[in-house]
């Protein structure tokens, strides 16, 4: 190229070009932020298989095919954060500390911390007052919300975890996990060993 780029400078140019090519390759390989989920995939998200006691189970095929999108992707987590407010979750769970509903922060997951359990809780409801959101949210929204709920009480913050909201400050944001040690959780209720008795 320029006279300045003689033998000694080729490594620079080569490194630069290599980095650009590598970046382009990574970009091509990585899926861009998906704003519209194909209806068949969205429908498949409904097909989770739960254990008979309603705790844990196998997520649908598409969940793995998409790279556990709802668990780790920053965009979906932030959508979940919005849905948490829009669908009135704070009225029972407050900012995650729990009130009428259980806390998400004390590390005690009545039905286990897996995404399928959380999705099932939101979709189908649970005994003792958790309503079913099957008819109020689409299944994709439920997955987004579940990802966020899982983040609220995470021991180590996900890379894509949401930050604080432009609202009154009540507790440190999800990206500053572990949430548990960051503030007093107040008196902990008595938890049954596994799930509520019917």
């Amino acid at each position: 190229m320029f006279r300045g780029i003689n033998k000694a400078k080729w490594p620079f140019l080569a490194t630069f070009v290599l980095l650009v090519v590598a970046g382009a390759f990574l970009g091509w390989a990585r899926q861009p932020r998906e704003l519209r989920t194909d209806p068949p995939i969205a429908a498949d998200l409904d097909h989770l298989r739960l254990m008979p006691n309603g705790i844990s189970g196998a997520p649908p095929e598409s969940y793995f095919a998409e790279g556990k999108l709802y668990e780790s992707d920053a965009y979906n987590l932030s959508q979940g954060q919005r849905l948490y407010d829009w669908f009135g979750c704070p009225s029972c769970h407050r900012d995650g500390r729990g009130n009428v509903g259980p806390s998400f922060l004390d590390g005690w997951w009545l039905y286990g911390p897996e995404m399928v359990s959380i999705v099932a809780s939101i979709r189908d409801g649970r005994p003792h007052g958790m309503p079913a959101f099957r008819d109020r949210m689409t299944i994709e929204e439920i997955w987004q919300l579940a990802g966020y709920v899982q983040t609220i009480g995470a021991y180590s913050a996900k890379v894509g975890a949401t930050g604080r909201k432009d609202d009154r400050q009540t507790r440190p944001a999800e990206n500053r996990a572990p949430a548990r040690i960051l503030f007093d959780e107040g008196p902990v209720g008595v938890h049954p060993d596994q799930g509520p008795s019917p």
């Binding site: 190229m1 320029f2 006279r3 300045g4 780029i5 033998k7 000694a8 400078k9 490594p11 620079f12 630069f16 980095l19 650009v20 590598a22 970046g23 382009a24 990574l26 970009g27 990585r30 899926q31 861009p32 932020r33 704003l35 920053a74 965009y75 987590l77 932030s78 959508q79 954060q81 890379v159 894509g160 949401t162 930050g163 604080r164 909201k165 432009d166 609202d167 009154r168 400050q169 440190p172 944001a173 990206n175 500053r176």
Partner: protein, 637 residues
């Protein structure tokens, strides 16, 4: 290692020209090979790297612009979706402002200022090397992030709350904010180097009234950088803190304020325009003087205009916020101050016109670009007066009118002079001439393409087309002009393509350039093309504003410098009287290690605040390695 002669402290007066060149080459050369390339501190090598890198970013930014024009060429086009489009226009703006415009102007200064003031290297040459590595790292961070779909998508101005913790998911906005830190560090470092070089390393006799206008413009620019960039550092730090550790600077619910961001951003952002434009003023003045064969009319007035512009630049920022809902009375003040800056700009235009009228113009390519600059920049200035008016601005703010306006100012006001400057200094930098024929074609294509592309945008803006939209509906009356603009952009792109072809071809096989091909009168033309590693075998002594014009056969020089160490002269600020012989630091790999350590710290800190604590340890080690004396003659005598 330097082979020592038996004579201790050998001085240049004891050597003839051939011996002197040999000894100075031994002292000042950059070793060949990769290690030498990585550890060089020669301002010419670093300046060249800066220039190449900035032009690569220009080309990349141009490709993004073409992508946007493709998407906008017809209504409801679906070439690019909104998510990618938002990244593209953010990248285009960020890239052009932070990775092209500011760095390329500084790059030209890094290369030219030491030559124009007649010294052998820039002040703090290792800091200079460090600043380049930081710039490169910041640019790579941004572009690699873009390639992996993590490119910032919040606009180059990153208004909160859209860029804040709640509305900008993921690391995209953090990448933007941290890229700012990289480029600010490098810009501030170069600004310090330029200030000290200009104030303290001028050739003996180059008193303040004999400083070339380009050097003056870079001095004022450097002060603007020093005073303006801390504002964006504070702003981007506050943004990252809001996003990462939950501070409330921009959260109105907890006492923060959304407009605080805008104030801080534009307190930097408006001077930024002059940081880009003032060096161009210096380039225009230099080219006008050379190609009209007379000094620029009104030297003192030009310098005063530069300084006035620099001062006023800090009093205009609110005109970017005329529709944000600030008190009208305050806004009227900013209307007045924004309009007032047209006065020094007008003065400069009139001085150049007077110079052209009184001189004997020679219509070579660099001068053509200056003429193009005059035509386009004056339109940009006029639309600048328009948007300075509050009521006018309420209709055109954030529309394509403003897009047209600032492209007229920045492309017309800075890129045209820059291209002229490249044609002008190319022989000095590479030792080869660029093609005059291709140069004329380049100018014609870029000038035509530019005006056909950007002038219609004024109309689009008045017809109600907002900025930053990824498409528009067919019922809006904008599709015809948009198609016209997109087609014209192809002409503009062809012009730039031709420029790159010409530059690459000429660098490889252009005709050899003489030392002073244009008959110019500033000091950089008093040395060979390209200059030797030590710039001047004997440092020049200056007796007038145009050291090469009076008696072009002999150059007055100073003698008595040591040749065993890298030595240059420190002179007094006003009169440029010699104060000391001073050593200039030699090559070192530590700036590269320091830059790498800083890069790790900055990128890591996007993910956890603890990176600042742990990451500062390698940075400290690298800096200590940098400054610890190595027992070289430069360190110890």
């Amino acid at each position: 290692m330097i082979v020592r002669d038996e004579v201790e402290d050998l001085r240049d007066t004891a050597l003839d020209e051939v011996q002197l060149d040999r000894r100075l080459s031994e002292t000042w050369s950059t070793p060949t090979g990769l290690w030498g390339a990585l550890s060089t501190v020669d301002h010419k090598i670093i300046g060249r790297r800066y220039i190449y890198t900035a032009f690569i970013f220009l080309a990349l930014g141009g490709i993004l612009a073409l992508a946007m024009r493709l998407q906008l060429s017809e209504p409801e086009a679906r070439f690019i979706g909104p998510d990618r489009y938002n990244q593209i226009f953010t990248m285009h703006g960020t890239n052009m402002m932070f990775l092209f415009a500011v760095p390329v102007m500084e790059a030209m200064a890094v290369y030219l200022v030491p030559l124009m003031v007649g010294t052998r290297n820039i002040a703090f040459p290792r800091l200079n090397a460090f600043s380049y590595w930081m710039y490169l790292a910041g640019g790579l961070l941004l572009w690699i992030a873009f390639a992996v779909d993590t490119g910032p998508d919040v606009g180059w101005f990153a208004y909160v709350p859209l860029s804040g913790p709640q509305y900008a998911a993921g690391k995209r906005a953090d990448i933007w904010a941290q890229m700012i830190t990289f480029t600010e560090v490098s810009a501030l470092a170069v600004a310090v180097e330029i200030v000290v070089t200009v104030l303290k390393q001028r050739a003996p006799g180059m008193s303040l009234d004999r400083i070339p206008l380009f050097v003056w413009s870079m001095l004022v620019t450097s002060f603007l950088i020093i005073l303006a960039m801390p504002a964006i550092m504070i702003a981007s730090t506050a943004l990252i803190l809001d996003r990462l550790v939950g501070t409330h600077f921009f959260n109105p619910a907890e006492g923060g304020d959304v407009l605080l961001w805008q104030h801080l951003f534009w307190f930097f952002g408006h001077p930024e325009v002059y940081i880009i434009f003032l060096p161009a003023v210096g380039m225009v003045s230099t080219i006008v003087a050379t190609f009209t064969r007379r000094p620029v009319f009104g030297y003192l007035a030009m310098v005063m205009a530069l300084v006035t512009t620099g001062v006023l630049a800090f009093g205009l920022w609110v005109h970017h916020m005329f529709v944000a809902g600030l008190p009208r009375l305050g806004e009227s003040f900013f209307t007045a101050s924004s309009m007032a800056i047209a006065i020094p700009a007008g003065l400069q235009i009139f001085c150049w016109l007077a110079t052209m009228w009184a001189g004997r113009p020679v219509f070579k390519t660099p001068f053509l670009f200056v003429i193009g600059f005059m035509v386009i920049f004056v339109i940009g200035g006029m639309t600048g007066v328009m948007v300075a008016s509050v009521p006018f601005d309420t209709q055109v703010h954030d529309t394509y009118f403003v897009v047209a306006h600032f492209h007229y100012v920045l492309v017309g006001g800075a890129v045209f002079p820059l291209l002229g400057a490249i044609y002008y200094w190319f022989p000095k930098i590479t030792g080869r001439m660029m093609s005059e024929t291709l140069g004329r074609w380049t100018f014609g294509l870029i000038f035509t393409g530019f005006n056909l592309t950007f002038f219609p945008m004024h109309i689009l803006g008045l017809q109600g087309m907002p900025r930053r939209i990824y498409t528009y509906q067919p019922e809006m009356p904008w599709s015809g002009l948009n198609m016209f603009i997109s087609l014209s952009a192809v002409i503009l792109a062809a012009g730039f393509l031709l420029f790159f072809i010409d530059a690459i071809r000429s660098a490889a096989s252009g005709p050899a350039a003489p030392d002073n091909p244009w008959g110019a009168s500033t000091l950089e033309w008093a040395t060979s093309s390209p200059p030797l590693p030590y710039n001047f075998a004997r440092l020049p002594v200056v007796g007038s504003l145009e050291p090469l014009s009076n008696n072009s056969e002999t150059l007055s020089v100073a003698g008595g410098l040591s040749v065993d160490r890298r030595e240059l002269i420190v002179t007094s600020v006003v009169e440029a009287l010699p104060e000391a012989r001073e050593s200039s630091p030699g090559n070192s790999i530590w700036p590269l290690w320091s830059a790498l350590a800083t890069t790790v710290l900055l990128i890591w800190s996007i993910f956890t605040p603890w990176a600042v604590v742990w990451g500062s340890i390698p940075v400290s080690i690298a800096l200590i390695g940098w400054f610890w004396p190595k027992g070289t003659p430069e360190d110890d005598t």
